[in-house]
Symmetry: C2
Subunit: 471 residues, 2 copies
């Protein structure tokens, strides 16, 4: 086998179970959770960066296109980024990825990977993929099964069949749903494995199975790709076609029905980092069983996870708790209740809390901004523009703005005039003026923006021109 | 009895057990904790504002002089404010207050009140004071005893004697220390009462007992008063003399030794709000036994106190917890561990966390300021100046400042030039310039200040002139 395996990376999830660090506006696959300084998306990219693999296909939401591109760029890795106009579950994403892979190579072998899982050993992962690829080349859809360490009720289980497919691979006797604890215990006794959600298959086999078991998914994905548009470096799927693809997981659509499923038992440790208790599990603990990160101080506290990204956070006299503190939201939970964070986020959304889905720091293709103060008739923001970053040419109807440069150099356009502003210089933008901000320098530009006016909402913006195709 | 009782209000405590809302820079007696919109200091003032009482003497720390004056002014109540240069425990404060009361009236009757207690019924309090005053006029030092509602280990107990002093007052058989739970149970069976820390006595009797049992306290207090200086509206005790007063509580110094102690059983409910569990106890609870205040959302949570002053704060699956969340510090504690907050604050102080003692919002005689952002070579503050407020004439060596008015009108002096700035106008203060800010208007002045320079510490300030006597 000489052709390289094409990775299809699923990076469109919303990750609400790790709120408040993970939010819709920047979900868990794009944040650095595990202390490596890299996101799990980046760890996943690195895992498939070797010679075994071809250029990856990343399937993600259009909302994540800039963070995705930025994190790829930071690693110096190139990928084909496919943008989903909305979430349609995993069958749609696998179908799109597989269709693209086959365009690249009729005989393509693919590996589908989740962008938000933790895997202990990248070399072992590659070796397992190669073992599975042998069976995949022979027409099997291979799963990577994880030997259970506890009777988890959060995972699906794989029933390993007796037929040997060679290289340690076995035919799969069945996919089973997330069980209750008692059933999970029996599954473990029966030798079942956890379904890690990684699949290795030939494009041809997957498309054949989709045609048999989920033709609407395949037709919709094909139409969405046929109508797709190139937008900067992204491939933007046709929204109307994609909206018609049934919302169904690849497990239901194909894996539970195909007669060609196999399994390789993984030789690495794995976690889907599905909730905060999993994060506690994954991280190194101190003598009291605690994971303490950031500005944190505790007394009489054990077996707990306490993370602060800024605010001094303290715990007294508690065990098995999760405390996650950010500048605009705090979560306190019993460890056993960690999976209920998803329910909490739904409750917060219903109650109209913007913190449920939006981070305080808003990432943009040119950098980021963060509100630091707000009151009647004013708002203050910290704006960071990357070298070369260029904000849209814009105008506001209801607010004037004061910009004070606190780091770097700003090129400011106000109506027809272009001027440079350096550290400790201020620009004034009267209501209604046409203006634009650019960082012409080699270091980050940081600005404090004070908005004053009768309305300071984000939607008072008229974008006249935008290099990032947002106008 | 016609002379009015002189209240001596002890308002110098540090209140670390209610951190992070209560901190050294503005302790619990000055914050609105109980939902009335008033601080317990103000509630205490109101309790003794009727015709039964004379103008109060407030004994507090010099650090609290402006908040004290401001809170008096807000109620339209006048008081004699005595400033302690340092904390010397309650005997010193009682001695100073009593000496001042006797200056006012040789036959003065005094009531000593803690500024940080909650009392359910002000009329009942006054009635009880009047009953106690009868015995006090006859030479007794009267306590107000509280019928215990639980075998608390946080309070001292009063052993009620058999001798009737009239009007329901009884001679005190003894003061007993904070007991363990078993002892507390026996005390309650024996009919002991809680010591509320309120005392009613004649100035003459208290000074006689101090002379007998704590002459160094009396001598030190006398010397501190003799050397005291008037400073604006405050009486500032002589620091050297006051530093020599022994650090001892009035309980140890006098109450446990005097043969003239009596007790009136209080007809009001009382709490010293000694820790967060007491706050939970005092407040009205919802159907799940929770007290939820501010931006708070919970799931499966019972019998808990969750307070947020700004940041969205969430709890899942916990019972009997305290969560107090402020913009710069978060406390999570098991309710039973609430008294350990004091230990936590000591730990935070040792570890150099400024949040242990200083609030983010710093109160000044002219208003307040609050840091809203900080980074290398810059800092951003929100400044609020009350009508008529005037900051010191000052100069900085290492930073320039940009002021943007977002509310009200500013009179800005830069070197020799005085100008008015209105909403949406900005002033620039170059490094080294002499400048001053005043609010000449009728509404609050709010300014966003952006400091830029090599050093933005609070101590880079040369005060050239200050109406509040701080230069």
């Amino acid at each position: 086998m000489t052709a390289r395996i094409i990775p299809i990376i699923m990076a469109g999830g919303s990750g609400t179970r790790l709120w408040p660090l993970s939010r819709d506006s920047r979900p868990k696959q794009f944040i650095s959770l595990l202390g490596s300084g890299l996101s799990t998306f980046q760890e996943t990219l690195r895992r498939v960066a070797g010679a075994t693999f071809d250029r990856p296909i990343v399937v993600t939401s259009q909302d994540f296109r800039f963070v995705c591109a930025e994190q790829l760029q930071a690693l110096g890795i190139e990928a084909e980024i496919v943008l989903e106009p909305e979430r349609r579950d995993s069958a749609a994403a696998v179908a799109v990825g597989t269709l693209l892979a086959r365009r690249r190579n009729e005989q393509a072998l693919c590996v589908v990977l989740a962008a938000d899982h933790a895997i202990s050993n990248a070399d072992a992962f590659v070796a397992d993929c190669l073992r599975a690829a042998q069976a995949a080349a022979a027409g099997m859809i291979m799963t990577l099964g994880i030997r259970p360490t506890a009777p988890s009720t959060a995972y699906g289980y794989l029933s390993v069949g007796s037929q040997d497919l060679g290289h340690g691979a076995r035919r799969l006797a069945g996919f089973v749903e997330k069980p209750d604890v008692e059933t999970a215990r029996r599954y473990i006794e029966a030798g079942h494995l956890w379904n890690s959600g990684n699949f290795i298959f030939s494009a041809e086999r997957m498309l054949t199975e989709l045609r048999s078991f989920a033709p609407e998914v395949l037709d919709g994905a094909t139409a969405a790709l046929d109508g797709a548009l190139r937008d900067l470096d992204f491939l933007r799927l046709d929204a109307d076609a994609f909206a018609r693809v049934p919302k169904i997981s690849i497990d239901y659509a194909v894996m539970e029905r195909t007669g060609h499923a196999g399994v390789v038992e993984a030789s690495f440790d794995w976690s889907d980092i599905g909730s905060w208790d999993a994060v506690h599990e994954l991280k190194e603990k101190d003598g009291q069983g605690n994971v303490l990160e950031g500005s944190v101080s505790v007394i009489d506290t054990t077996d707990s996870l306490v993370i602060s990204d800024e605010v001094l956070t303290t715990v007294i006299g508690l065990s098995d708790v999760i405390v996650v503190s950010t500048r605009d939201a705090v979560l306190v939970a019993d460890k056993s209740a960690a999976p209920k964070v998803k329910e909490l986020v739904a409750q917060l959304t219903r109650d109209g809390h913007a913190e449920a889905t939006a981070h305080l720091r808003i990432y943009r293709p040119w950098g980021w901004y963060q509100r630091i103060d707000i009151g009647p008739r004013f708002q203050v923001k910290h704006i960071c523009v990357k070298p070369g970053g260029l904000l849209s040419l814009q105008r506001h109807h209801h607010r004037a703005e004061h910009w004070v440069v606190v780091h770097g150099t700003a090129e400011v356009t106000i109506d027809d005039k272009v001027s440079l502003f350096h550290e400790n210089e201020a620009a004034y933008l009267p209501i209604g003026c046409t203006h634009r901000l650019r960082n012409p320098g080699k270091i980050d530009l940081k600005i404090i923006e004070i908005q004053v006016g009768s309305y300071t909402g984000e939607d008072d913006i008229v974008r006249i021109e935008d290099v990032y195709a947002r106008s």
